[in-house]
Symmetry: C2
Subunit: 457 residues, 2 copies
């Protein structure tokens, strides 16, 4: 496999400049103004896939942003890997916290700084380049399909129907995804579980107009005070979620399995130091890793109401809002949880206000077993390029579409993430180390090789 | 006094077009970008006072926005009325809730719609025009001084020192202010009490950067969830404020006095209907009017943190903020309350976050006795023009500078407010009925007449 490193070395600058082209388009899927940017990014992806050596590539319509599809079929009797990734990115606010323009990639300290540098332009693009490497060096051992969507960051609302419609086209043996993290480059790991998500928006309405807080203060319910009280009631003093029925479907992880998980390296002092917090906070009776790996959680992702400008304004606002999301663990159904949340939240509202609850998006949790062929191939691939056997870990994050794939396409996914938690995805100064970018491109061809060997054995 | 109505009738259109000139300048004191507008508004006020017939008028420097001073001394042995008002206005957001441009005054349904139409451009300008009326008709019975400031809406931070510096210049017998409301034009009333104010801003910091809510959710304190819990703890289930010592200095109003106050006309159903609320909410054991009139209150005036844009973003923000203000009643010291609040709020913070509390502004409560000469003169003036004796009422609002005047200048204020609660001051679609504007101009000369008569008697 010497050709792998050789090809990367010979082309590494071009790989980077092509990735930068992708990054420069602000393809923020949650903001309508970026519709044109979504199309431009999709077209650029199509061009890259074709140039890399695909037989065909298309920007295919969906009910939302288009999906880039591409394929190279070397032999119908060989296995087929379906690469999934997304070309859309998260919003950039708070923009003032960025040290450089989020859409003008910069290299500092050996890392690419930009929105999408990791999630998921950087990680998905590794697959385009690994594919190119295999094609150009005549080492592609199996069939490859690409499906790169533009709505992952808003919960992939159209991809389920896209998969239903194109089930035949998307036939494959495994879905290969790089959109997760590894523990570190010293301790490679493969994600074997993802949490599900139920993301809600709530609106609390008090009086029908903003009121002067002097003339009305003390006599009329203030929707911000009420919303704060309602949020406070969503968790108890042990940080357990109080929504009736919330934990009913949670499969408790057995003590033996928890003991096994506890062996993964984790330094709580280092963790607290890196976040500059004096104390961590979470559900009583569980460790920090368990709280994100095997337990559900509830976070207010945004809150707003009243006067939020400079100085003071003595107002009782008419409305207050919050975006509240819950991470779910295996066997919790996000649709059911969304309904339980809505019922409970409405029940918390005093008669002095009106409440509106909307489900913004959601997804099922996912588990990827370590005994499947693709996991074994991935394990061998990491071992070959990192020199260490990777550790299987449950991630706290969610990629809602992964469980949808399983349901609609009947396909498992292998989550070969090369990101680091320090990459600050979804945050200001998102970054992706060059080491990880190139290491990913290097590792992927090994996966194709081992996966094909195992499947044909 | 026939000349009063006559003069108003002959000049009413000009009065209005001059007021509109004032309103068109967006003199928002809480936003730094409007510094030039503050100066322009002050200069225009000076011009109007001179044209109305003052001996002198000046735009005088203060530590903040300038103060417009003007005077006409008819006889040093006659009483002196010091007119106080303010030329600054509140911010206009949420701007989308306005039916017309806040700085392009429009007349609809017999009301002037604009920011400052009532508070306090409309009400203060009545005094300029009443003064003009008395000068031009040779009926001014006493000396008049004007002091129109530009920082009332941010708590008059510079006017205290201005008063100290110009104590001699500001010598007078009474301060005359129109910056409050009356019950209705059918039930005229005079404000005899104002609540004090302590206005705070709080900042809650969790992790040192925005985090992905999947990777960290459940393990790290979310500053929005924490802030909500802390706000929820500021009041108990009876809506009493829980800050230790908060009520210590409150003078409980005696049952007999409360019974007297309860005679003021008030229709709770009408009140709820006008606000479109099913239930009112406030401190147990007190009526709605008592809750705003004789009891302190606590309101969150603004809250923000995390992602507040369109769609969903799965973030745990680093910081969350709130603006929280308390209305105070006689004998509560706003400085002491601000300190009690800060101590308590900080004590509520779990170790998982850091908290910063800042006092934005404040003011003492004020009581205006009904047995003072100015009250009696005002009572006679309203009776003359409205045909009904006005009712004394305690307002829930605050004009912090009024108690400062008493302390520094040794002067009581008489609060002849002609606004209505429906004027939506501080809110979108602020308005001021033309009837009240002209009725105010009509009533003020009567006050001067009766006040001079009583003082010289």
């Amino acid at each position: 496999m010497e050709h792998v490193k050789k090809y990367i070395d010979a082309n590494k600058d071009r790989f980077l400049s092509e990735l930068f082209e992708l990054i420069r388009i602000p393809s923020i899927s949650s903001i309508q103004d970026h519709k044109d940017d979504m199309l431009r990014t999709a077209e650029l992806w199509k061009k890259f896939i074709i140039e890399a050596g695909a037989d065909r590539a298309e920007v295919m319509p969906s009910e939302g942003n288009p999906v880039v599809y591409g394929e190279k079929i070397v032999d119908p009797n060989k296995p087929t890997v379906l690469v999934y990734g997304h070309y859309d990115v998260m919003p950039v606010d708070p923009i003032e916290a960025w040290e450089s323009d989020p859409f003008k990639p910069e290299i500092r300290d050996g890392k690419i700084f930009a929105r999408g540098a990791d999630d998921d332009k950087g990680q998905a693009f590794m697959h385009a380049k690994a594919f190119e490497l295999m094609v150009k060096t005549n080492t592609l051992p199996c069939n490859v399909k690409f499906m790169i969507e533009g709505e992952e960051e808003i919960g992939s609302p159209s991809l389920g129907n896209f998969c239903k419609k194109h089930k035949e086209l998307l036939k494959a043996d495994i879905i290969l995804v790089s959109d997760t993290t590894m523990i570190s480059t010293d301790i490679p790991s493969i994600t074997t579980g993802l949490r599900g998500l139920a993301y809600m928006e709530v609106e609390v309405t008090g009086p029908n107009r903003d009121l002067h807080s002097g003339l009305y203060g003390g006599a009329v319910a203030n929707p911000i005070n009420v919303l704060s009280r309602m949020i406070a009631q969503l968790q108890d003093e042990n940080f357990r979620i109080t929504i009736p029925g919330f934990y009913d479907d949670v499969i408790e992880v057995m003590p033996a399995e928890r003991a096994e998980m506890a062996k993964a390296p984790f330094d709580l002092d280092e963790y607290k130091k890196s976040l500059d917090i004096e104390e961590e906070e979470g559900e009583a009776g569980f460790s920090t890793m368990e709280r994100t790996g095997i337990r559900p959680s509830l976070d207010v992702n945004g809150i707003w109401g009243g006067y939020i400008g400079e100085g003071a304004k003595t107002v009782i606002p008419s409305k207050a809002y919050a975006k509240i999301s819950m991470r779910l663990v295996p066997n919790q159904d996000n649709k059911k949880i969304a309904q339980l949340f809505a019922n409970y939240f409405e029940s918390l509202a005093p008669k002095s206000v009106k409440v509106k609850v909307t489900e913004l998006h959601g997804g099922y949790p996912y588990v990827s077993p370590t005994d499947m062929h693709a996991y074994q191939a991935a394990e061998k691939a990491y071992t070959a390029t990192f020199g260490k056997k990777p550790i299987p870990v449950r991630s706290g994050g969610s990629i809602p579409i992964i469980s949808t794939f399983e349901k609609i396409l009947g396909l498992k996914s292998i989550l070969m993430g090369f990101g680091l938690e320090s990459d600050a995805i979804h945050s200001p100064n998102e970054n992706y180390p060059l080491f990880n970018f190139y290491k990913g491109i290097e590792t992927i061809p090994y996966f194709y090789k081992y996966f094909t060997e195992i499947m044909l054995a």
